[in-house]
Symmetry: C2
Subunit: 273 residues, 2 copies
């Protein structure tokens, strides 16, 4: 049976792309002509997917942008996942984590019912909060290690003995892997430390947010984040692609941005690997 890591590698090879587009669609940032339409967000997502699907290996959907629309948002979320071709990975960026019997419910919601191929999970509550996700053996589970925001410095960089908390998280969580389906979220904005996480994590897949609007360096992510095959990472961009143009040409503009970013990523893959 194909594991998550194998499936991801196959998709990334075939598409020659490490790019993940984040469908964090904010109705207030969409082009004007779509804002008034009842299915504006769904149409926006469809056009973005159609315009970029040959350029990406994954789409990441952040739940916050849909939950903030209530039950209508949940419906749009369901329909958006269903629009992604099955040859592309879908990541439910939900950052969930609760006591065991509750995480079991979250895992069912994201991986089974919504049918995402992967999910993001928060580590603070420990093993029994993460394990119910890992039990879905063909699904990917990206545990937050080092995040791309400023708040990462509050706790993730705190020293536990000689190690920092994010290093401790990587070392510990690595031991929980069951089915070749564990990965880590490692922010692009902490490029000097992506190397540290790569060293600790071996060949486990990374999901790397923080490129684009948040200012992370593509060169450093590729150079320090990739495995020695020049792979093993999904580099996410959301706002810089979704809102590349505020006009009716938004999908074409998103495609241009995705082409450019994909080329940049592949340029550095060729350079370093």
């Amino acid at each position: 049976m194909t594991t998550y890591a194998e499936r991801l590698a196959r998709i990334q090879n075939r598409s020659r792309s490490l790019l993940c587009v984040g469908l964090d669609t904010d109705a207030e940032k969409m082009p004007m002509h779509l804002r008034a339409r009842p299915n504006g967000i769904l149409e926006f997502n469809k056009r973005i997917i159609d315009a970029t699907k040959d350029l990406v290996s994954a789409y990441k959907i952040n739940f916050a942008f849909y939950e903030s629309l209530g039950k209508k948002g949940w419906d749009i979320l369901e329909r958006t996942v269903a629009m992604v071709p099955s040859t592309i990975i879908t990541i439910g960026d939900a950052k969930r984590g609760d006591i065991g019997n509750t995480s079991t419910q979250y895992a069912k919601a994201v991986l089974k019912d919504l049918g995402f191929d992967a999910v993001t999970v928060a580590p603070y509550m420990g093993k029994d909060s993460v394990q119910p996700f890992l039990e879905y053996h063909d699904k990917g589970v990206y545990v937050l290690a080092l995040t791309s925001n400023k708040g990462a410095f509050d706790f993730q960089y705190q020293k536990i003995g000689k190690r920092r908390l994010f290093e401790e998280v990587v070392r510990t969580v690595k031991g929980w892997a069951l089915h070749d389906n564990l990965g880590f979220v490692v922010g692009a904005t902490k490029s000097e430390d992506i190397r540290t996480v790569r060293r600790l994590a071996g060949d486990l897949p990374f999901l790397v947010p923080g490129i684009g609007a948040q200012g992370g360096s593509v060169e450093e992510v590729v150079r320090y984040g990739c495995t020695k095959e020049g792979a093993g990472v999904l580099i996410n961009a959301s706002r810089s692609i979704l809102y590349a143009s505020p006009g009716k040409d938004f999908a074409a503009a998103a495609r241009s941005e995705a082409v450019k970013l994909n080329n940049e990523i592949n340029f550095f893959r060729d350079k370093y690997f």
Copy 2:
């Protein structure tokens, strides 16, 4: 203007109750006669609320149990919050936390659109992940400090210098409070450490899960968790109340359990304060 902490204290005084009932309704654990009904969960929640509303100062709704039902679940969640009388606190147990602009969306979803009086938030991503919740000045924000599950030992007990991570979280997050609306989640199963958190947190409100099915001691929670007024905590029970009887008398049985637990809590409040 009344702050969250003042409002909570007033409600707890008036009801003479520190009890919070967790509406973590699991369709598979409900009484048989309700499982087949299209609105069975909503009916169950309504009957539990009607049977216990004079005994509690809060209801806590864990999102996982509703998200696992898809958009129908989101609808039940909305309608359940709306059924709680406005004289009782509602806590959205969502354990959210993401980068700033995303946490803003989660805060809107839980505190504004769903209209919860309070929310639970995960601390791993630091200040900008928590702040958007704290900006709702009349709403309560309970940050996970020490959780009730076994996984709490994986990271929360790790030593940062002389302190453990949960102590570091309490000390640091305390500095982020803006509007007298910050609190902490402190598990009842770690009673020896509730005292530690109370010492660090001053008079901030605690939400204490882990009584009942998880085995925490009511006596120790009251003794070590309360402020010197014998208040300042919400003691949550979910499964032990919701599923007190598997039959048609479930609501009466839930009421009995709630009466018993409330009496036990108040017995120890009288004993120690």
